[in-house]
């Protein structure tokens, strides 16, 4: 026991006193994920941009519908101009100083109020012109915004019935944010497993295959420390470091979520009880231990860090695919919770969906514990095998 603590404290000293490792494994992943997701979010939801549209004889009815469709944060500014300035406005569109030009017939609202049916393409059919630049993204999107408002306007004129009118009711039972939240909840197990895996990849191959490659592990093996103590010390410290690395990534993900989803994920997280968080923590811990033991076994089979990394790639692919399985299907069959990693994914996705079962959680944790103990035993046996530890 004392030897295990000595080994753990050495592994921690090796890690925490090395600024490069700490930066690379603990700070960088979280920071990178935060920056990346925030960047993605700001590209996806670029609401800071405002469009300028010049309008001739701007119809008040249209402006009203357009404003209603845009919602709370209007991004299009209409600038009324005289009909004679239309040609100049087209030049400005080409120069990129203005996003679009919309030209209404004079007294458009009065024509609408007149209310008689006008055949499409007819001689006297009123026409709204929209001039824009199809080669510019901004111009194109403002064009489609206006098209859609015009379509609504046209529908309103020939209205026979309403769909989901605000007065009569109807609509999505969840808000847009909640829908996005549930999508990310399904993605979460995959994200968590991937982060755990990469955290572990940052330390385990180096600590086991690296020590083998450099001949430092043999120095330990001629001391009275038992192989099993060495293995337990390594697995425990690698698990702690991998978990810390995963937490860093997790914090990065968490902080960037609102930006990425264009909404607030805080509500989603506040929705879980302490129990559910505890369950989540337990599942994540068992996943870390499983992954660390598996990578450690591959690392001790390898002759070098490079080889260990190569061996781990297939495992990573399998773990990531299993992580994605919750997007396709979920199961509450208890027996399915005996399958390692898969059980973590299923329990996590059940927790996020708010319907996890204590029985399945216990089956998952219990069976994972058995696998971890077996893997650690296997690892200890491997450390005793000279063919593995001293292979050339």
């Amino acid at each position: 026991m004392k030897n295990i603590l000595t080994i753990i404290s050495k592994e921690f000293a090796r890690f925490f006193k090395d600024r490069r490792l700490v930066l690379g494994t603990l700070l960088l992943p979280g920071l990178l994920i935060f920056l990346l997701y925030t960047l993605m979010g700001s590209v996806l939801y670029d609401d800071s941009h405002t469009y300028t549209v010049k309008a001739v004889h701007l119809s008040p009815t249209f402006a009203q519908i357009f404003a209603a469709e845009e919602g709370e944060e209007p991004s299009v500014r209409f600038e009324e101009i005289a009909a004679s300035e239309a040609e100049a406005a087209k030049e400005e569109i080409l120069a990129g100083n203005c996003d679009a030009l919309i030209v209404f017939p004079e007294d458009f609202d009065a024509i609408l109020a007149g209310g008689s049916y006008a055949p499409p393409g007819g001689e006297n059919t009123p026409n709204v012109q929209i001039w824009y630049d199809a080669s510019s993204g901004n111009s194109s999107s403002v064009y489609s915004l206006m098209r859609s408002a015009l379509d609504t306007l046209e529908d309103n004129i020939s209205n026979r019935f309403d769909v989901n009118s605000p007065a009569a009711g109807g609509g999505s039972l969840t808000s847009g944010e909640e829908a996005a939240a549930s999508f990310y909840a399904q993605l979460m197990p995959f994200l968590i497993l991937t982060l755990l895996f990469s955290g572990c990849m940052g330390v385990a191959p180096e600590s086991i295959a690296g020590e083998k490659e450099r001949g430092t592990i043999a120095t330990l093996m001629v001391t009275p420390v038992k192989r099993s103590e060495l293995v337990v010390g390594k697995v425990v410290s690698l698990s702690v470091i991998s978990a810390l690395s995963a937490i860093s990534s997790f914090i990065g993900t968490f902080l960037s979520m609102p930006k990425l989803m264009g909404g607030n994920i805080g509500d989603l997280f506040a929705a879980y009880s302490a129990w559910e968080y505890l369950a989540l923590f337990a599942v994540m811990l068992s996943a870390v231990l499983l992954i660390v033991s598996l990578i450690s076994i591959l690392s001790s089979l390898a002759k070098s860090v490079k080889e260990a990394t190569t061996y781990s790639v297939p495992l990573m692919i399998v773990v990531m695919l299993v992580g994605l399985s919750s997007m396709l299907f979920t199961t509450s069959v208890p027996a399915a919770h005996l399958i390692p990693i898969f059980n973590c994914v299923q329990v996590m996705s059940a927790i996020f969906a708010g319907n996890f079962s204590a029985v399945n959680l216990l089956i998952a944790l219990g069976s994972n514990l058995v696998y971890i103990v077996l893997l650690v035993f296997a690892l200890a046996r491997m450390f005793k095998s000279e063919r593995i530890m001293f292979n050339r």
Binding site: T6, A13, D18, R214, A218, M221, V222, P224, E386
Partner: protein, 257 residues
């Protein structure tokens, strides 16, 4: 004379990987490293395993230090069987070889404490021993320098000091002066003689004749995994220089087959 190390009919065959098979040009995929090796070393003496490269010296010393195990035969160190009581053997030996490396990242000071604790020494004991050994080998000035930044000679001294941290009664030393500059080599050989003076038992391997003549009380000449000649230094030399004697033995061993 009390016997301290005994090897009885030790055999060891390595199974070669595909890459090694090509290098060794072996068709069977097997390499017999030790072919029934027996010898005895006595307390308070320096025993030298002398042999050319590939003779099996390192393999024999690794078996004695419990890093690897023999296919058959039995070996005893300080009265303990290497196969049945490896923990007791490890507690009574200090094993040193160029292949046992120290982690580059740590300082001699940290590593000394780390290994001291693994050997179960109390903290004050570690401190006192560190002071004594660091001063003796001139490590004190480098105690806080990372191993990565030490010279090869200094690294070797730190390894040496750490391997005898627990004051073992038996010292196993594979190629003690390999890769060392002459000054460090002298420090090491002087220290081995000093340890002998303290009553420690030492077994070392080498391919350097002069080292055997300078240090060893007893010599075993290994060729092809077998003991080709064994006895006191003078018995093995038979009135000649160690070098001449070795080549006579070598010729006899090779043509005798």
């Amino acid at each position: 004379m009390q016997e301290i190390i005994r090897a009885e009919d030790i055999r060891k065959t390595f199974h070669l990987s595909r890459k090694q098979r090509q290098i060794e040009r072996s068709k069977t995929g097997k390499k017999v490293a030790l072919d029934g090796l027996s010898f005895t070393a006595y307390e308070g003496e320096i025993y030298g395993l002398l042999g050319p490269n590939g003779a099996g010296k390192t393999t024999m010393l690794r078996i004695l230090s419990t890093l690897i195990s023999a296919d058959s035969g039995e070996a005893f160190v300080a009265g303990h069987s290497v196969s049945r009581e490896p923990d007791k053997v490890r507690a009574s030996i200090g094993f040193l070889t160029g292949e046992l490396k120290l982690e580059d990242f740590f300082t001699p000071d940290y590593l000394f404490g780390f290994f001291g604790r693994l050997h179960g020494l109390p903290e004050e004991g570690i401190r006192a021993r560190k002071e004594e050994l660091f001063r003796k080998f001139g490590i004190d000035a480098y105690a806080q320098v990372k191993v990565a930044d030490l010279s090869t000679g200094m690294k070797q001294k730190v390894s040496l000091v750490i391997s005898i941290i627990h004051d073992p009664s038996v010292i196993i030393f594979d190629e003690p002066t390999n890769g060392l500059d002459v000054l460090t080599a002298k420090v090491v050989t002087d220290f081995l003689l000093e340890l002998k003076g303290q009553g420690k038992s030492i077994i070392l391997s080498t391919h350097i004749f002069s080292l055997v003549e300078k240090l060893c009380d007893r010599v075993g000449v290994i060729i092809g995994g077998r003991m080709a000649a064994e006895g006191t230094l003078d018995e093995v030399r038979g009135g000649k220089s160690m070098e001449d004697a070795f080549f006579d033995i070598y010729k006899r061993e090779v043509t005798g087959k």
